[in-house]
Amino acid sequence: MKASGRITILAALAATCICGHVYAGAKAVIGGAFATPLLDAKTAVGKDGLLRLIFDYNPSTGGTTYAGSALWIIDPNGSVLAGGSPTIPASVGSFYFSTKGGKPIFPVERSNTAMYPQADGNTTVLFYFGLGANPLLGVKSFGVWTYNSSGSLIAAAAYGPFGNTRIFNLYFDDVTGKIVVKWAAGSGNSRTYAGWVLDEFGTIVTATSFFGPFGQTNRCGKFRVNASNQLIVPFSFPVGNLYTTNIWTFNSSGSAVINGQSYGPF
């Protein structure tokens, strides 16, 4: 009788263990408020038709329990084809963005990550380090990891922090999947900018020197990159009640401006 009781308990435990292997605290980051990849939804479909999704583990309303993230690659039938390995460590950090009144914008913590499904099936993940109270200001370092289509890590890079500079903008170019970094130095009317373009593995393919200052911050717009790795930098200057638009195009290494056009004032 003792033996049969033991068998029953063991079987019950086995069944519970097999069926009950469930985690309750991984939140798929499916909502987004901005076009900025850091804050946007962490889901994307690649040219292979597969969905990439980042789970944030243990995100909380207090901003203190985030425990890392994982990348999943899912086919149109819902099958999980791959899980990224290694998982993204909690040391990457998360933010909990508050408004002026101290009320939360996002219901839960959100990892400091962004991702892009590359045309070749790889998935590139960006890490934003050193976020302060405002995730759009004060970032001085970033990292890049690239997973292949089976979820294995195939490339890693980290850049910064650099003295007296910060990242003004960091994002994936929508079309090419390249990473664009807009560096800023100085403040106010003395602010100057430089641009980097990184490929899907985190290699710097274009780097400009700092240019400016040309006055107010908003006179230099969002950097774009074309298929030849050429950075395109727009400027807008007020002329009375009108505006002049200037467009610079750098060469593919970023060492020189090769084209400058001026339009307006309109």
């Binding site: 408020a33 583990y57 309303t61 099936g121 890079a157 650099f162 985190g202 780097a207």
Partner: protein, 198 residues
């Protein structure tokens, strides 16, 4: 074969059925969608059950447009109750639990892991000579598990260093926008540090 010989087998089956019933009962208490989805083998062991009530209360206090945008996509939002009902209906459909595949490093014919191109991580000398001190990324060329290397790279404390290529003086005064490409390049070259200039 007598009934007594089948007794252990019957007890085993009874135990398994009992365990399944317990598990079913436990899972049906969980609000998470994950119960019916694939189960990751990788999450940390410290996962904590979310607190929907807490999230809802913070959501309801949220008045900004940004918040509205974010919350509207969250299933915790009371506005999404019909969607939640649909979700619960979906949960009732038995979706088999499948494990997340463990990544296997597959090599290409050229010996490189899938996804790695021969020129991956190979720096353009023209670019990197203007960025002294910067190293190209770590590339997996032999199919090894580079997880620890990558994590160490991110977690190690990194000292602040001068910006590669140099930055202009912080007190630089605004200048007129260059009227030609030549003028722009002269101005840009002036901002480069001598050490970074080829």
């Amino acid at each position: 074969m007598g009934l007594s010989n089948l007794r252990p087998l019957l007890l085993l089956l009874a135990g398994a059925a009992f365990g399944s019933l317990i598990t079913f009962g436990v899972l049906s208490q969980k609000p998470s969608v994950q119960a019916n989805n694939s189960v990751s083998e990788v999450p940390p062991k410290t996962l904590k059950a979310p607190s929907p009530a807490k999230e809802e209360s913070s959501d309801s206090n949220n008045t900004q447009a940004l918040a509205d945008n974010e919350e509207s996509s969250d299933t915790e939002d009371p506005v999404n109750l019909p969607a939640q009902a649909q979700l619960q209906a979906l949960q009732k459909q038995r979706v088999p639990i499948r494990p997340v595949p463990t990544p296997k490093m597959v090599l290409q014919a050229n010996g490189l892991p899938v996804g790695v191109t021969p020129d991956a991580g190979v720096p353009n000398p023209e670019v990197y000579k203007r960025l002294p001190g910067l190293q190209p990324p770590l590339i997996n060329r032999d199919g090894r598990d580079m997880g620890q290397e990558a994590i160490q790279m991110m977690e190690s404390h990194r000292e602040e260093t001068p910006f590669p290529g140099g930055i202009p003086s912080a007190s630089a005064t605004p200048m007129p926008f260059p009227q030609s490409v030549e003028e722009a390049n002269r101005q840009i070259q002036g901002n480069s540090s001598p050490s970074a200039t080829p």
